[in-house]
């Protein structure tokens, strides 16, 4: 394999025929590398400022309802970033991520209610199990292309949903209620105060952001984008396509399951339809798609716009069964996806060059 990679590199180096043009290329290359490093530093700085700002928000927001929206926004930002690792960067569109979320939610909850183990432990176990399942499924699934792959992910998630619905030990269709206990970090239970949940969700969002940030400039990041761009071409240049997809799937599933465990602790009640339904798989992907698929900021930006709007319309118009909340929500999704097909992040690509680069990236 090493030989293959070396020969591929030689082929790339040997490509420019005239020495002059090669020199010019290398100068541009250095400049663009510097620009890239500058952009990465700026992104990290903006993220740090944003994280600190969010951490200070609870000082101003005491309303439980608004704190709830904050928690959900952060959670969806993190979940969608997890989805983005596989769907956005590696280009494998999964619409079955609800199964990983469900594994996380059920694993930590079952271990807590039946064995008394702390949700922190269940969270790690759930993440590990989800990653293992992603690898097991990936082995046959990654042979499939495009819609055939996507429908396979839907089908597996639906099978999981039906199995849990009929699994009496896990409460069947009724689901599981986590018994109330005293507020504690060990049990991840805070019935009276939402503040710890905000910090946990913030930590989760920051973690997925940092992981994605690190991946962007790592070997895996380049491999994944190459696989997304053109799997055959990538393979011919020595990218191990299959292993790339597997790594992205495992990482993506792991973090999605962590989100599931957190959600279960946060709402302290889970049932199969609400944590494993097909709609939920779409909801995980939605912020990344609306914000900018395969971009670092897309999921967070998408969640920031989508989740508060969803929650506000739901509380203003929902519940009465008159469907107004659904109409507003549906029109919102349609309008954003039609008006900003490359995602909301494109609004911030002010400079011509930056916008062109972003479009090229989104196109991949």
């Amino acid at each position: 394999m090493v030989e293959q990679k070396l020969s591929a590199q030689n082929a790339v180096v040997a490509a420019p025929a005239e020495p002059e043009s090669r020199e010019r290329d290398s100068i541009d290359h250095d400049a663009s590398l510097r620009g890239f490093a500058r952009r990465r530093h700026r992104e990290l700085a903006v993220a740090a400022v944003a994280a600190v700002a969010v951490a200070l928000l609870p000082l101003a927001i005491h309303d439980v309802y608004l704190q709830n929206i904050l928690v959900l926004t952060l959670m969806y930002a993190a979940l969608s970033q997890s989805w983005n690792i596989l769907g956005g960067y590696c280009g494998q569109i999964s619409l079955g991520h609800a199964i990983y979320f469900g594994i996380g939610a059920y694993m930590s909850t079952l271990l807590y209610t039946h064995a008394g183990l702390t949700p922190w432990f269940g969270m790690v176990i759930g993440g590990g199990v989800a990653a293992l399942i992603a690898l097991t499924l990936g082995y046959p699934f990654f042979r499939l292309r495009g819609h055939y792959f996507t429908i396979a992910t839907i089908v597996v998630a639906e099978t999981g949903l039906l199995l849990v619905l009929n699994w009496d030990f896990a409460g069947g269709a009724q689901g599981i209620q986590i018994p109330y206990g005293p507020d504690s970090w060990a049990h991840l239970q805070f019935a009276r105060d939402k503040l710890p949940y905000i910090y946990f969700a913030l930590g989760f969002a920051v973690l997925t952001f940092i992981v994605t940030f690190a991946i962007e400039d790592s070997k895996w990041g380049y491999w994944w984008r190459a696989v997304k761009d053109n799997a055959e071409a990538a393979e011919s240049l020595g990218v191990v396509v299959f292993r790339s997809k597997m790594a992205a799937a495992a990482l993506s599933a792991f973090f999605t399951a962590i989100g599931g465990s957190f959600y279960a602790a946060f709402v302290s009640y889970i049932d199969p339809d609400s944590v494993m339904g097909f709609q939920f798989s779409l909801l995980i992907a939605l912020p990344a798609v609306l914000g900018g698929i395969g971009t670092l900021w897309g999921p967070a930006l998408g969640a920031l716009v989508l989740i508060p709007l969803t929650e506000l319309t739901r509380s203003s118009f929902g519940g009465s069964g008159n469907g107004l909340d659904l109409i507003i929500y549906g029109v919102l999704i349609m309008v954003i996806s039609l008006a900003r097909p490359e995602g909301l992040t494109s609004l911030f690509a002010r400079r011509r060059g930056a916008r062109a680069g972003l479009e090229a990236r989104a196109k991949q």
């Binding site: 469907g323 919102l332 097909p341």
Partner: protein, 292 residues
């Protein structure tokens, strides 16, 4: 199990399979034409059922007689949806696939909200049809007349579809636009017109299914989603782009569902369908008859 029991399971499965095929046909047609998976397909089905219910409630016509009106209205709706929404989704330069998925997903949610708003989330059903509750007894195998009508209409629709695609100018324009939407402009075919007609036809097909299903199934704003899910699997199983693959896959799905409802618990019957899909695509990654 008796032989008669087995025949009953197979007959019910085949009849339901024909209806699944009819629902999937519209989806497959639209996909084959322009590579778009319509995530509002289940809501189209739901609208057709409500339209049937509305006409029956307003005019006291038999739902069977209301069907042509419903199908015509669905055709107009499909063409309108293309012109108002999908046409704009096709313009996206970046990640066009996801734009289409979520534009149609948003459309589906909007339609569901509208249905809840206009018709309330109450469960409805039509019991006034001449066909309601009647069955045909063939050597001890009971075939409900509404399902039988659905199966017959499904067969007729596929025959008609075959002639439209193979024998008419519209069908040739459809095939040509599917092959190369840019080149057809050179021979004077307006691709937007073909796409709009294709969406109209796709919606009309699911309209046929909806107007029959309104006779024997409950009607509710959320009724479409599970059928849409089966339709996606059916289209993929038959192979994207192959309408007649959808017919074969629909029959297979109906049979598998009927058999697994007997073997497994009825609530788990869909698992049989999913297993068949996975087994088939692992052996044939482009479905049974896929060419895309």
């Amino acid at each position: 199990m008796t032989l008669q029991g087995l025949a009953q399971i197979l007959a019910s499965g085949l009849l339901m399979g024909l209806i699944y095929a009819l629902i999937a046909a519209g989806l497959s047609l639209i996909f084959g034409l322009m590579d778009v998976v319509n995530f509002a397909h289940g809501e189209f089905l739901m609208l057709a059922m409500y339209a049937t219910f509305g006409i029956v409630a307003a005019t006291a016509l038999d739902p069977v007689l209301a069907a042509p009106l419903v199908v015509g209205a669905m055709f107009v709706l499909g063409a309108f949806v293309y012109l108002a929404v999908i046409r704009h989704a096709m313009r996206a330069k970046a990640n066009i696939g996801m734009v289409q998925v979520f534009a149609t997903f948003g459309l589906g949610i909007t339609i569901r909200g509208l249905a809840q708003h206009l018709f309330t989330p109450d469960y409805r059903s039509i019991q006034t049809s001449w066909l309601s509750g009647r069955t045909l007894d063939v050597a001890g195998v009971f075939l409900p007349l509404p399902q039988l009508l659905g199966g017959a209409l499904s067969c007729l629709s596929f025959v008609a579809l075959y002639f439209v695609i193979r024998r008419t100018d519209f069908g040739r324009a459809l095939e040509a636009t599917r092959e190369d939407a840019g080149a057809v402009a050179l021979v004077g075919i307006d691709k937007n017109r073909v796409f709009a007609l294709g969406w109209g036809l796709g919606a009309a097909l699911v309209g046929i299914a909806g107007s029959v299903m309104a006779i024997f199934y409950y009607i509710h704003p959320d009724v479409g989603a599970p059928f849409a899910l089966i339709a996606y699997v059916t289209v993929a199983l038959g192979g994207f782009g192959s309408i007649f693959g959808a017919l074969a896959a629909g029959l297979l799905v109906g049979l598998v569902e009927a058999v697994s409802a007997t073997i497994l618990e009825p609530s788990m019957k869909a698992i049989g369908i999913y297993a068949v899909y996975l087994v088939v695509v692992f052996m044939r990654p482009r479905g049974l008859f896929g060419n895309l």
